[in-house]
């Protein structure tokens, strides 16, 4: 729809129409919208009065010390933790009215890349992907295998499709995890410390991949306590501190496609 609107208004110098077009695009492109949200973990207040939005195609770092509430915010966004006050909309789902039977459908639009959500070690890479597809409603074997190979190609690991996770390096395993998150063409990727247990060189590879995914139109929200990452990679930065979330300004321009071969 965005492409059609663009063709319609291309060359039109009427400012009011241009502004109207911009507002329509902005509204459709908002994948996360959080307004004065309060999040508790049990009886303890973790985050208060949090407001921010994330648009499609944006890469956003979520930084803060361990225990600051980054993971709690992510958990609220994928429906594991309830919103105590305020409003939040995630990939079209109103989190204040979300019923437990709707949570699977929310999660099918989100790709989750967590440090402790690893591959199943008793099966091959392809079987890990097929497992996810079966669980999310796919049933045609040919289409499933084709999609599996597609996402593996995106992350540069097509030739490792039939290897077991223990036969891959840490960085390769993390790339497979990212491929797994891309299977259902999510609108949003939530990543929690995806480079947490990787060396600096491998971390860079994973970061390049995530940035490329964002540039293709998927929103990426990545929690990390590694402050050096956003010095090298371009993106908005939301800082979690003292139960509040504030946006920081960063300077940096990085395009993964300009840096030579990605893998």
């Amino acid at each position: 729809m965005n492409a059609q609107l663009l063709r319609l208004f291309k060359g039109n110098e009427d400012l009011s129409i241009s502004c109207f077009y911009f507002r329509i695009v902005e509204k459709e492109n908002t994948i996360i919208s959080v307004d004065r949200a309060w999040i508790n973990q049990g009886e303890q207040m973790v985050l208060s009065d949090v407001s921010f939005t994330i648009e499609a195609g944006q890469f956003v770092f979520l930084i803060g010390k361990t225990g600051s509430g980054k993971s709690s915010l992510l958990k609220m966004l994928y429906g594991e933790l309830a919103l105590d006050e305020g409003e939040a909309k995630v990939v079209g789902f109103d989190m204040t009215k979300l019923k437990s039977r709707q949570i699977p459908y929310l999660r099918r639009k989100i790709g989750i890349v967590f440090q402790d959500f690893q591959l199943l070690t008793d099966r091959s890479v392809m079987d890990n992907l097929l497992f996810v597809m079966r669980a999310t409603g796919w049933n045609k074997k040919k289409e499933m295998v084709s999609r599996g190979l597609d996402v593996l190609e995106l992350v540069g690991l097509k030739e490792s499709a039939y290897k077991k996770p223990h036969q891959l390096s840490g960085g390769e395993q993390q790339r497979v995890v990212i491929a797994r998150a891309l299977l259902n063409k999510p609108e949003l990727i939530l990543a929690d410390e995806p480079t947490g247990n990787l060396d600096p060189e491998t971390s860079k590879e994973v970061m390049k991949l995530l940035m490329a995914i964002a540039m293709e139109g998927t929103g990426v929200l990545m929690a990390t306590h590694d402050f050096t990452l956003f010095e090298h990679f371009n993106g908005r930065v939301l800082k979690v501190e003292n139960s509040k979330v504030e946006e920081l300004n960063t300077i940096g321009t990085f395009n993964p496609f300009e840096d030579g071969k990605m893998m």
Partner: protein, 274 residues
């Protein structure tokens, strides 16, 4: 555990069957005064048959009564040795009587006493309403206490069975917790995750129940062959019903235990799995 449960249920059914058979043996003798002759009493027998609570009633002539008395005497000669059983002037000292069996529902002390009052009111010539009160007390009190005790044991066994099966299933699910969590995080519905586990529980419950019943029938056969005859207690139609009940019970326990354990893992958070 299912075999034990089945055994307990068999005992309850057997005791119930035995109680029924004993009740059916209860007999009441009605003796009337001399103003009524054999014909009058024969007529009354017909009326007694139609009274509520009377299962079977028959007229017992003095000759028949004497024959049965002689038979009993011959069987237990030692206890009444020395007694002269020859008739004096060929007159049988036993008057005509009515012998009836009460229905199972009326085979209790209060109900028979009520029946006695009713019959004495209807037939003022009724002198004696005889039955063995002691057997009746044993049947109603003793058997009932036994059945309550056995039912209590059955309930305890049921709880233990459920706990054992639940623990086994929870251990099995523990080894699958990452698979369950992966499915949840990628967007599998609760029903999709539960389905294979519940199907497995159904098959396991069925196999367990079949083994349990095979073992139970084996035990009953051995008891019958080598210990004592339990065939009067066994109603084969009831045993088939028991087979069905144990199969259904086995399946239900497995399904319920699996569902409860699954619920725990479906509600747990990713951090809790480590």
């Amino acid at each position: 555990m299912l075999t034990l449960l089945g055994l307990v249920i068999t005992i309850v059914l057997g005791v119930g069957g035995l109680k029924r058979k004993v009740k059916e043996q209860i007999q009441v003798d009605l003796f009337f005064d001399a103003t009524l002759n054999a014909e009058d009493i024969r007529q009354i027998t017909g009326d007694v048959r139609s009274i509520e609570g009377v299962y079977r009633a028959e007229f017992v002539s003095p000759e028949r009564a004497w024959e049965e008395f002689e038979k009993i005497s011959q069987d237990s000669q030692d206890s009444i040795s020395g007694i002269d059983l020859s008739l004096i002037d060929d007159v049988i000292p036993i008057p005509p009587s009515i012998n009836f069996s009460p229905t199972e529902e009326f085979a209790s002390l209060e109900k028979l006493e009520h029946l006695e009052r009713e019959l004495k009111q209807r037939y003022p010539q009724l002198q004696e309403f005889n039955f063995n009160r002691d057997i009746l007390k044993d049947v109603n009190l003793g058997f009932d206490k036994l059945i309550y005790l056995i039912i209590l044991i059955a309930l305890l066994l049921l709880i233990i069975t459920f706990a054992l099966i639940n623990n086994t299933i929870r251990l099995a699910l523990y080894s699958q917790r990452f698979i369950i969590k992966t499915q949840q995080l990628v967007g599998a519905t609760s029903a999709f995750i539960r389905k294979p586990f519940l199907y497995q529980a159904l098959i396991q419950g069925l196999i367990a129940a079949i083994f349990a019943m095979a073992l139970l029938f084996g035990i009953l056969y051995l008891i019958n062959s080598y210990l004592f005859d339990i065939s009067p207690m066994i109603d084969y139609v009831l045993m088939l019903q028991l087979l069905g009940a144990v199969i259904i019970l086995g399946i239900l326990i497995c399904l319920f235990a699996t569902n409860v354990a699954l619920g725990k893992y479906l509600r747990s958070r990713l951090d809790d799995l480590y």
